[in-house]
Every structure is written in C-alpha cells, then in structure tokens.
Amino acid sequence: MSGKSLGQTMLVGRIMGECRSEQKGPTDLFTSTPQVKKMAEIQQFNVPQSYRDTILKWNGWGYRDSFFAINKNGDVEFTGSRYEMSGQALPLLRPWFEQNLGIDLDYKTPSQPQQQFKVDPPNNNQVFIDFLRVHDIAYSNAPQHRVMRAHGHTVHDMMHLRYGKIPRYPDLIVWPKDESQVEKIVEAANRFNQALIPIGGGTSVSNALDCPLPEPRSIASIDMALMDHILWIDSQNLTCRAEAGIIGQTLEKELNAKGYTCGHEPDSIEFSSLGGWVSTRASGMKKNRYGNIEDLVVHLNFVTSKGLIQRQCQVPRLSSGPDLQHVILGSEGTLGVVTQVTLKIFPIPPVKRFGSLVFPNFNAGVAFFREVAKHRCQPASLRLVDNEQFIMGQAMKTENKGLWTGLKASASKMYVTWWKGFKVDEMVAATCVFEGSEEEVEQQERRLYALAEQFKGVVGGEENGRYGYRLTFAIAYLRDLGMEYSVLGESFETSVPWDKVLNLCRNVKQLIKREAKAAGVKYPVLASCRVTQVYDAGACVYFYFGFNSRGLDNSLEVYDRIETAARDEIIACGGSISHHHGIGKLRKQWMKGTVGTVGLDLLAAIKHELDPKNVFANANLIDLPSAKL
C-alpha cells in the first residue's frame, strides 16, 4: 500500500472514546463456561472503547467489514469500502483456488458463531485488581476483552477461534494510559505475584501472545492501546517521539500530515504497533531506503521489573559497550514493556512509483537480485515472486478494469510469451517501489531496468507492480477465505546468504509438497516463495504454504509437521530461524541451534537480572531453567 493511499482507503483505528464509568455485569457476546457462570462476576474499570473491540474481527484477520466472500455469480468479492479493491469482484480467484488448492464451493467449514465461543472464567488476583483501581488504571476481566487479547494470528490461533477454544486466556486486561501507569503496573505485579503479557497490535504470528498453560499465576495482558500519541516531532534532527502503543498507520498518517514519513512499512502496518515493532525486531517493506526498525530507533524507554532503562541522550550513535538497545529490540515482551520510542523521520518523497519486471525463471530473477545488491541499486522496495505467486497475483485482478487495461495486459503477455519465449509456468516477476525526486526515481528506474536486461528481464509496467503489492495486504484476508473452505495456510520467513537462496527456496518448496503428500493431503498443495528483501550479504525469503485439509482428521497435526519440517529444512539449507517474525513460542526449539548453549545461558541471565520473579511470563524466546523461577 502506498503511503498516500493509506489515509484515503482505510479508516484509522483510534480509540473511539472512553467510558469512564465502572461496569459490572455479564456480557452477551461470549459465553462463559456454564458451571462457573455464577462466580464469573465481571470486574471492569474505565474500559476504553478501543478499535480492537469495536472494528476488528474476533476470529480472523483485519476489519469486520472487510473479507473475501463468494458473491451470487460465484465470483470472489472483497467486501466493505476500506480498500482500493473493496466492493470489487475477482473473477479469476475462485478458479485459482479450485485449481491450486482443490477447494469445492459446496464443501464449507464455517467458523462457530461468536455466541457459542466458550471463555474460561478468570483467575482473579484481587489485590492486584484493587491496586489498579486505587491507582486509577483501567481494567477488565470481561470475556470479550480477554478473547481479543489471548491470541495472535497463527493457524493454531485461528483454528482455536473458529472451531474450538483457546487453551488459556489472560485473566485480566489492563490499559495503562502513560508510562507512569506502566511503571505502577509492573511494580504491583512484582509485589502481588501477578504475571504480565504486554500486547501491541496483536498481529503476532509466533504464538508470542499465547498465555503459557503451566503458568499458575493470574495473567494480566497490558494493552498499550491508550498510549498512542505522538509526543513531539523534531524537524531539526528529523526525529519523532511517540508512545509505544501507536498503530503503524496512525503514526504514518499523522506524520504525513506534517510532511514526514517514518518509512517503516511492515505488511501488518494497518494493525501492528510501534512497541511491537521494537520488541520483535520488525522489518519494513521499504527498508532499502529507510532501514529496518533497529536502524530507525534512536532512543527508547523500557520499563522493567528493576526500573526504567533509557539512554541519557538522543544521539545518532554511541560507543558505550554493548548496545543495550539491542537487548531490548527483539526481547518479545520477556524483559519489560517498551513505553516510548524516538524514531527517525524523513520528508515525504515527492515521487513514489511502482514498477515491475518479468524474468524467464526464478533462477534468473535471483541472479538479478544478487547483482542489484552488489551494485547497491535497490529501490525502496524490491521483491521477487516465484511462478506460483506470479500466477496467484494475476488471479487477483479485478473485473471492472477498463477495456484498455485488459488489452494492454494481454498484449504484454503476448510479448513476453511469444516474442521473448517465456513460459507461463516458469516466468516470475519482480515488483518494485521507487521513491525520491522525479530525477532520482527516473535514474533508479533506468539503472535497475538496464541491469535487468542482462538477466533477460522485461519491464512489466507499473500496474503489475501495484498488483504485486496488493497481494501483501490481501493474503491475510485470503487465508480466512481459505479456512471457510477447509484450507489451512500460513506464511513464514527466513534470511539466507546469497549463495544459498536458490537451494533453500527449491528445497523448502519441495519439502512442503512432499511432506503434505506423505501426510495424506489429497489435493494440490500451495508452496510458494518470494525474495522480499535484498541485503549486501543475503536476502530475506518469504514462503506461503497452504493445503486443503478436507478428508484429514488430524489437519492441525499435519500442519504442524509440515511447518516444523519446513523450518528444519530452512536451517539445514543455511537459512535463519527468523528474519522478522521473531521467535515467540513457535520457534523456540531452534534457538539453541541458533545462538548456542552459551547464548541461551546469557539470555537467561539477562532475563534473571531484569525480571527475577519472571513477571513477564509469556515464555517467549527461551525456556527458563525452572529453578530460577
């Protein structure tokens, strides 16, 4: 999504208003488990009406009003009015689903209705709740609030919501409205034996938000939603300070209004938060121009059980021993809460243009990317999708494009297939975003396209580039559509040195297909990848994987087996445990191999020092030696 279109096409999720009154009483949205119904007294105080509880889906991705559905013509249509493609039909998408995942419109696997969803009663730590009350900190133990903060967006999370129940819910939600309240909460948690799990946007795909089952204490979720303000913008140094709870698109919109951009654009920007970016070491689509989160952060405040960590100055770089900010970046809520962040900002570039290139095959595309990295001529964003995704992207085209666009598309298709001899089942596409002044962009385009020619690349036009990026935000919505028809899908990423990119992509895709077949999957399997980032020494690779679970009675087990085998294969092929999704609980088993035993001990030692009582008990990253708990 372009920065410009963000404001136009999406509603910005801000707090809709706060309700200052104290509420008690049951809720009709979710059902409490019957035998404890009488005990399940709802305790609420100052509960804010936040976007999370008002406009987001309870059992899927994104906004309640936006989803893919089959219309009366049997075509896939995107509902709502928030996105460019909202209200439009995608006539090629259903056939694509049928062909590539073997779905059958008559075989539906719909979600359970919200009313039937069961929520276990909370384990109330009354002293803690009373403390919050005394200190005027908002809280709730109502089931609807607890459900929304009990999960991220893994396949498991979605399956639990749609067809079962979540194994464990946070017992309480607290809404601090500033840093001092966060400090109070952490202090009280240490005093009253309360476990805490901070939550930002809730878009985690690593089970980082899941409440650990063995945790005997009451768990409170610290919802950062109220801390969503930009504190200041410094046009001298081009920095801005914001509270950690601010959502990406809100931050971007407010900066845009002042003529700036922060340049950090992860695929989840509509929903993920600044604090979440920091604590997962996030990466943005346009990192080539702006850098990843670790390059953008200038300063931050971090509340721990031992007190606040912050640098005494806001400087571009300093040499003062190991960089403690790097201990915080990627700590995934295990050490404390990010409360405020100073980020670099940039004047909005006057020109932003999409572009695309078509290559005869994936190998040629990767060779081109390697060369681009060598010459360091990558535009703000550069992505290479494999043939499967190229075809999938084509299937995302909407019907009501003018005759001319359609004609042009087919003419260019004729050009590459007939004239250039590309094969439809082998060709791949690179999509790019150029940013800068008109001359800069023109120069970038010229240079990139000239280099592409050496690798038999053909310029594919701006419109195709736009389509490529459309898939980025649509994919999470697409997964929900798939789940309606028994398809389980997921995406995962890795980073890998250049010399191993091709091997890794090929082997992981092969593995997914073969493992799925071996596990008894009866329909075609989707295994697709794209190279989403170029670095001097390697690349980031992103995989999509999906299969039709129809006829399997252990579909989640099959899914787990494939996902685990795929990560093993990634690592065996020289890839990493994660490029930007983080570890959470999902990838903990590979941490030892990644950082070694000494590394694990060091992480445990840091944890023990900063949080001796393990108040931040989300159990992400590493398993703590139980003796230290």
Binding site: N361, D425, E426, P497, D499, N503, R514, I571, A572, G574
Partner: protein, 671 residues
C-alpha cells in the same frame, strides 16, 4: 537370506526381445524417457555439449582456472585450454541413435551367449517413476564388463533414462569401444589423479552437474573396479562423497541410490581374471582383444540375474545423523566435510555393498567349488568324483537351509549341479556328461613365463583360482557364522564375551576380504549367533556358547580358515624378510613364492589359489590400516611406495593368528 529368483517377480528379459521380434525390432521401438519434473514442469535435459559448457562456466571451474594460472605462473588461456581438453577426454556424448545401433548389436550377442537374464522389472518400473521426482544414482555390483551394458539395456527396455556411467579410463584404450561407450552415456575418469586440483575440480563438477540438473541417472561402481574374486570389494569412498555432496550442501532435495545386484552363472572374464590375479600385467582392453573375446562368444555363459534393490533416499538415510546445518556456516565455495561426516558417508558405502550381497543369487556351484577346493587343494587330491561331489553338495544344501540360507535351485539340486558342471567343464579334463558319475580333474593352464615362481605351480593355480573365485560367491552369507565357528573350534574358552572379542578381532582382520559394516560389529555377531542357535548348531547356556553340531561348526570354520591361512603367509613373509622398509610388490612376490613352495611340498591347507594377489593385497592394506605398515616416502629404485614395518605390532598379530591356525599344528611350525 539369499535372493530367490522366481516368476512373476523376475522375468526373463529375452522374452521381451523375442516378443518384439528380435534385437533389431526391440531396439527401434519408440521410447519415452521421463524427465525430472519436480522442480520445473518442463526441464531441459542437456546434451553432452551443453553439459560440458555448463561445467566450464561454473564458478568452481572458473575459480580453479584462475587459481591454477596464478600458481603455475602461466596465462589463464593455457589452463582454460587444459580444462577443455580434460573435459573432452572425460565427457560422455550420449546419443540415442547411437545407443540404438550399438544396443541392437549387443543385445543380439547377449541373446546368443546367455541362457537368460532374469530381472525384477517391477522394481525398475518403480525407479522409472522415481526419475520423475529425484536424482537417481545406480550403484551396481561390479563383476564384469557386462554389468553396465546390461544395466543400460534394462533401462532402455523399461524407458528409464539411460544412466551416465562413471567408467575407468582404461576402457578408452580401445578407441572404437571407448567412443561407442561414450555415445551410450559413459564418461571416463582416471583411476588415480593424486593432487591434480584441476582434474579433481572438473571431475567433481561434471559428476555433480548431472546430479544437480537431474539430466539422467548417474551410475557408478562403489567397489571402484571389477571384482575379480567373486565377492565384493572393499568400497571406494571418493566418488561416493562427490555424489552425496550436492545433497549435503542442499543443491538437490534428495539423491536416491539404487543398489543393483548383478550375478552371473559364469563370468565372461573368468580365465582372464585368474591370470590377472596371478599378477600378469592386465591385457589392455583393446579392440583386437575384444575380437578375441568374440571367439569365446560361441561358448555358453549360463544365466544372469539382475536385482534392482530397494532405493535408498539419502535424505531419509542420513536424516538427522548427518545434519546439513553443520555445513551451512561455511560458504558454498568452501565446502568441506568433517571426519564424522566422512565416516557416515563411508558407512553408507559399506551398506550398499551389503545390499548387493543380500540380493545376490546363490546357486549350488559355489558349494561345489568349496568342496572341490577342500579335496583338490587342502588335501591335494588329483581328482574328485562327481557322485561324491553331489553327496557333499547335498549335505551343504541341507545345512544352508537349516541356517535359513536359500539356494537358487531351478530344477533339482542334482540337475542343477550337472548343469553347472557342464557350464564350467572347460576347467576340467574331458567329461562324459551322460555318465552317472565321472572323475573331475582340473586342467593346467599355460603360463608363458613365471619369473621366480615355479611355472608348474602357476599352471596349476589358474584353474584353482577360478574355483576359489566361484567358491567365494556364497561366503557373504556365512562369513560371520564361520568366524564364530572358527573361534569355537580353536579356542578353549567359550564364554560369550570371549568369543565376541575374538570375533571382532577376526572380523576386522578380514574386513577387506569379507566386507562388513563398520560400527555394526555387535549387530553382526548377534545375527550370526541367532543363525547358529536357531539352526541348532550352537546353544547359549548361561554365558557360554555350547556346540551342538560339531560337524557343522568344523565345516563353517573351515570355510573361513583359508583366508586366515593366506593372511598368515603374508605375516610370516614380513617376519622373515626383516627389512625395515618393504614395498607392496615385493611382499606380493615373496608371498606368492612362499605359497608356491609350501604348496609344492603338499603342506595341508596350503592352496595353490593362495597365489592370487587379491588376498595378499588385502592383508597388506589391512596391516596398513593397523599401522603395522606405515607409508614412508618413495623407494626410488623400485619406483614404489615404501612401507616401514613395525615389528613389535606385527608379532602381536602373528601371535593372535597362531591360535586359529594351530590345527594341524605342523603347518605353523614349518612356516
């Protein structure tokens, strides 16, 4: 145990030719060779020239050319030129039309000289399916030139892409044959290329290019060269590593190894091998030699059995034991294997040899040869009666079936035995096969010159070596049981752990004669013990092994004893020579000389077939493994490697061996 060849699992390939209406009709059938479509839907199967070009342009070769040019202080073009020449000599030039022409001729000849080729075609059809998804490597046993010819014919027959065959450079001595094989997909590698980095790089890249691109299956012989001795050779590891590297570094998803066991009733090169084993310079594989060979094409060579074994997925085989993640901290260009990884790869080589053995077909003939050797060699009889032979073979047959070893018997044991005696009657003085019984007397074979060794002994040894080679064909089935039996019949202490320690010692000492799997000593001991107890030859009483069937124990021990006796001659030769340094050639000659002298004195248990250089070399290299012989530079005069002899260690081995060779004790004393 023992591969049984039966319909419908096996069918006779000749039927396919006959059904087609002859070799020519068979060869012109239209073909449908599948390509590997797992990665690309329409993969490009490269021709010979394209493969060569890809190899030359690969980063590995481009880098080594620059490196070599720098090291030699010459221009890049010079090394480039050399690389091209090496590749020209090496590369195959596969061409289907040529395959058809050559295939027709070969099929016709084979149809004429063999009585049948029995193949488990269903398995080959499965492998054809595998070719659509994986890089396939055929690893056949290697006992004859015919091996790769047959394998290619079978592939052609079943529409399996014909393999690229790693062949020894010596096949190219005949220009015509060399080029013909090249057109059929054979490529040629030097038998040794020491530290020639350019050659190594070209050869590695060439082989791996086939595997990575999955153009066609690759075929190579894990034993490195044809076994002249009827049993498996100690596996060679170099090519194995080259083949597996693409998997370990992730350049292919998997490599699927298909062991192929090929057994012949009668080996084409039978007499030739015997001469070679005596140490006569190997006649060059020239075309005229081939025409000479054509003369023997009027003879019959019996049946041949081709068994495609269960494919081994390297990915599954190594699983987590050879974790590829260990390699990924190095850049691709710096790929090296650690010792642990090398060991795992070597073990796989041994497992493949075991697979060959497990799938070998055993006829009655090896047992007949064992019997003949016992009487004609150990007891120095002049001739042996067929009726007695039949009785002895029957006895062995009963013992084998008791031990769970199945023999391939087509009609009846007697009819089969007569068939094999007839098939091999060129070894014996004329036989009247119509008679109920007849005397069997081995013929002498002419020797032109014999050097220091008694010519007469040499002439007698040729036929005896042939017999001993055939006798070897059943040894893999009983080697471990025979070792246990030998220990029990010679050592007083029958405690299981004592027997086990002796067993391990002997198994290791004879590891080059009877290939076993390193690291599986205990497994093999337990399996053999189970075989012996189940067949009521032994029983385990508390921690002791008790003999129930002394005759069987003596028979089994007797099967393996000659190998120890031959080894022992090498030991005594080394002890007697007393030199600080020795060379291989020197020890081989001295051992032959000593064996010939002892045999002429009709010393019991000393065989003329001990003149075969193969067991002598095996003993020599085992002593090198034991660090009793240590490579120390070059003997300039003899142009051979010098080995230092560590006498104290040698004495230990002599002492250990003495116990098993005691009976008859006279032998040892006179040595």
């Amino acid at each position: 145990m023992g591969r049984k060849v039966r319909e419908p699992e096996y069918t006779n390939w000749f039927e396919h030719i006959d059904q087609a209406g002859g070799a020519v009709r068979w060869v012109i059938k239209s073909k449908d060779f599948p390509a590997n479509t797992s990665v690309q839907s329409r993969p490009k199967v490269r021709n010979g020239a394209e493969i060569k070009l890809d190899v030359l342009n690969s980063p590995r070769i481009q880098e080594i050319i620059i490196e070599q040019a720098k090291a030699r202080g010459c221009g890049k073009e010079l090394v480039d030129h050399e690389a091209k020449e090496i590749l020209e000599t090496m590369a195959h030039d596969y061409n289907l039309k040529a395959v058809r022409v050559i295939g027709a001729a070969v099929a016709k000849v084979i149809r004429q000289i063999l009585d049948g080729i029995y193949v488990n075609f269903d398995q080959l059809r499965r492998i054809r399916e595998l070719c659509k998804t994986d890089s396939v490597v055929f690893m056949p046993s290697h006992k004859s030139y015919l091996d790769f010819i047959l394998l290619s014919l079978m592939c052609f027959d079943q529409n399996v892409p014909l393999p690229a065959i790693a062949a020894g450079m010596d096949f190219m001595n005949s220009k015509f044959m060399g080029e013909a094989l090249r057109k059929c997909g054979a490529f040629f590698i030097r038998r040794s290329f020491g530290t020639d980095k350019l050659y190594w790089a070209l050869f590695t890249e060439y082989v791996q290019s086939h595997i990575v691109n999955s153009d066609r299956p690759v075929e190579f012989f894990v034993e490195g060269t044809r076994s002249r001795v009827g049993k498996s050779l100690f596996p060679k590891y170099g090519l194995m590593q080259v083949m597996l590297e693409p998997y370990l570094r992730g350049s292919v998803y998997d490599v699927v190894i298909v062991p192929v066991a090929i057994n012949y009733d009668k080996i084409l090169e039978e007499i030739l091998y015997s001469y070679e084993l005596l140490g006569f310079p190997k006649p060059k594989e020239s075309t005229s030699g081939l025409f000479k060979a054509m003369n023997i094409l009027n003879e019959r060579f019996g049946k041949c059995y081709v068994t495609f074994c269960e494919p081994i997925s390297v990915r599954k085989h190594f699983g987590l034991s050879l974790h590829r993640a260990a390699f990924v901290c190095q850049p691709d260009s710096q790929f090296v294997l650690s010792d642990r990884e090398k060991r795992a790869i070597r073990k796989l080589g041994h497992l493949i040899v075991r697979e060959h053995n497990k799938n070998s077909v055993i006829s009655v003939w090896p047992f007949a040869c064992q019997t003949l050797l016992k009487y004609l060699e150990d007891e120095h009889l002049e001739e042996f009666d067929f009726a007695q032979l039949l009785t002895e073979v029957k006895k062995q047959g009963i013992l084998m079936s008791k031990m769970g070893i199945e023999l391939q018997i087509d009609k009846s044991l007697e009819e089969d035995l007569r068939y094999y005696v007839a098939l091999h009657d060129d070894l014996f003085a004329p036989i009247d096969h119509t008679k109920e019984t007849f005397a069997m007397k081995l013929l002498d074979h002419p020797i032109e010159k014999s050097g220091a060794i008694d010519k007469q002994v040499m002439e007698k040894s040729v036929g005896r070596i042939v017999l001993s080679n055939y006798a070897n064909k059943m040894m893999h089935e009983v080697a471990d049981s025979a070792l246990i039996s030998l220990v029990l019949s010679t050592i007083q202490d029958h405690k299981q752990n004592v027997v086990y320690s002796k067993f391990i010692y002997l198994q290791a000492a004879l590891a080059r004669d009877f290939v076993c799997v390193p690291g599986e000593e205990f497994l093999s001991f337990s399996a053999a013990l189970k075989q012996l107890t189940q067949s009521k030859i032994l029983e385990v009483f508390e921690d002791e092994l008790r003999i129930l069937d002394l005759e069987a124990v003596n028979y089994l021990g007797g099967l393996i004893k000659p190998s120890l006796a031959a080894f022992n001659i090498v030991l005594s030769v080394l002890q007697e020579c007393g030199d600080r340094y020795v060379t291989l050639a020197q020890i081989v000659t001295l051992t032959q000389l000593k064996a010939a002298t002892l045999w002429s004195k009709r010393i019991p248990s000393i065989r003329a077939s001990f003149l075969s250089t193969d067991p002598i070399k095996n003993a020599f290299f085992t002593l090198e493994d034991y660090k009793i012989l240590i490579k120390k530079g070059l003997n300039v005069k003899l142009q051979a490697k010098n080995y230092e002899v560590i006498y104290q260690e040698l004495d230990k081995v002599v002492h250990e061996f003495a116990a098993y060779l005691k009976t008859p004790s006279a032998t040892r004393n006179r040595l």
